[in-house]
Amino acid sequence: MTLIDLANPTRFLSLTARILPWLAAATTILLLVGLYQAAMAPDDYQQGATVKIMFIHVPNAWLAMFVWGVMSLAALGTLVWRHPLADVAAKAAAPIGAAFTFLALVTGSLWGRPMWGTYWEWDARLTSVLIMFLMYLGLIALWRAVEDPSRAARAAAILTLVGALNLPIIKFSVDWWNTLHQPASVLRMGGPALDRSFLIPLLVMAVAFSLLFVTLHLAAMRNEILRRRVRSLQMMQASRRSA
């Protein structure tokens, strides 16, 4: 099966029906392994047990940005190639990305209170991630507000690409401005600054959450394809009645 075959919604549905159970099983196993390793990880000499929040905060923060990246590629697919599955992919990813961003913000806040003495600080990293969360909500609202799917797709694609300008700001905000948030400690020049006892559970959790995203995204794309079929059949039914 080639990539072109996947661009056909019917073939896409038959493929997802076959691989979703396997993906769900792999995600569950990896999440359980990651949670076990996170529970067994030692306390940090400075942060104590609160370092365990890192194992869910960091994967969610990475995925919040990654999902916007996926939506940006899909936006190009909508605007340049006008492929219907591109808008399906972007629309299905938005609520999942919003959920990951919400979790990154809230777990970061819960980590910040004991470490920084505050739940929230209007610094560059936290504010730029909050802006991304609000843009996710704006995109979801846009898709719901515009009735014509092709107009909604184009408007959402443009907004997604505008929002993509925020990604480098989020990534480099800790280097460009003074912030309470720590600088990058895994994806940085010179390799990870984390000890293996923290790095391995973190990477396992990151892969597990990435698999979770792929599983949920494929399932949500399947739902969106079905929703569009329902819409077209309802329109066919309405035109028959009026004829």
């Binding site: 019917t10 549905l13 029906a17 529970a39 306390d43 104590g48 047990a49 609160t50 365990k52 929040i53 869910i56 905060h57 969610n60 609520p95 999942i96 959920a99 919400f102 979790l103 809230v106 777990t107 819960l110 980590w111 209170r113 004991p114 979770l212 949920l216 399932a219 949500a220 399947r222 739902n223 079905l226 929703r227 079929r229 329902v230 059949l233 309802q234 066919m236 039914q237 028959r240």
Partner: protein, 58 residues
């Protein structure tokens, strides 16, 4: 393992993450059932796709 004075922050973070992920899974599963039920209703009322493929093929 979690004797830290800040254990409640850790527990709350994991509980919240679990709740949000479960809500996502349940929402997607309910949406799937709803769309399939709507397609079935439309097919039952005689409205079918040009390809002739129905819910049973999904």
């Amino acid at each position: 393992m979690l004797s830290s004075p800040h254990a409640s922050f850790v527990v709350m973070s994991y509980a919240l993450a679990t709740a949000v992920v479960l809500i996502l899974i349940v929402w997607i599963a309910i949406d799937y059932r709803r769309q399939k039920a709507r397609l079935r209703e439309l097919e039952a009322s005689g409205v079918t796709r040009r390809s002739g493929r129905g819910v049973a093929d999904i």
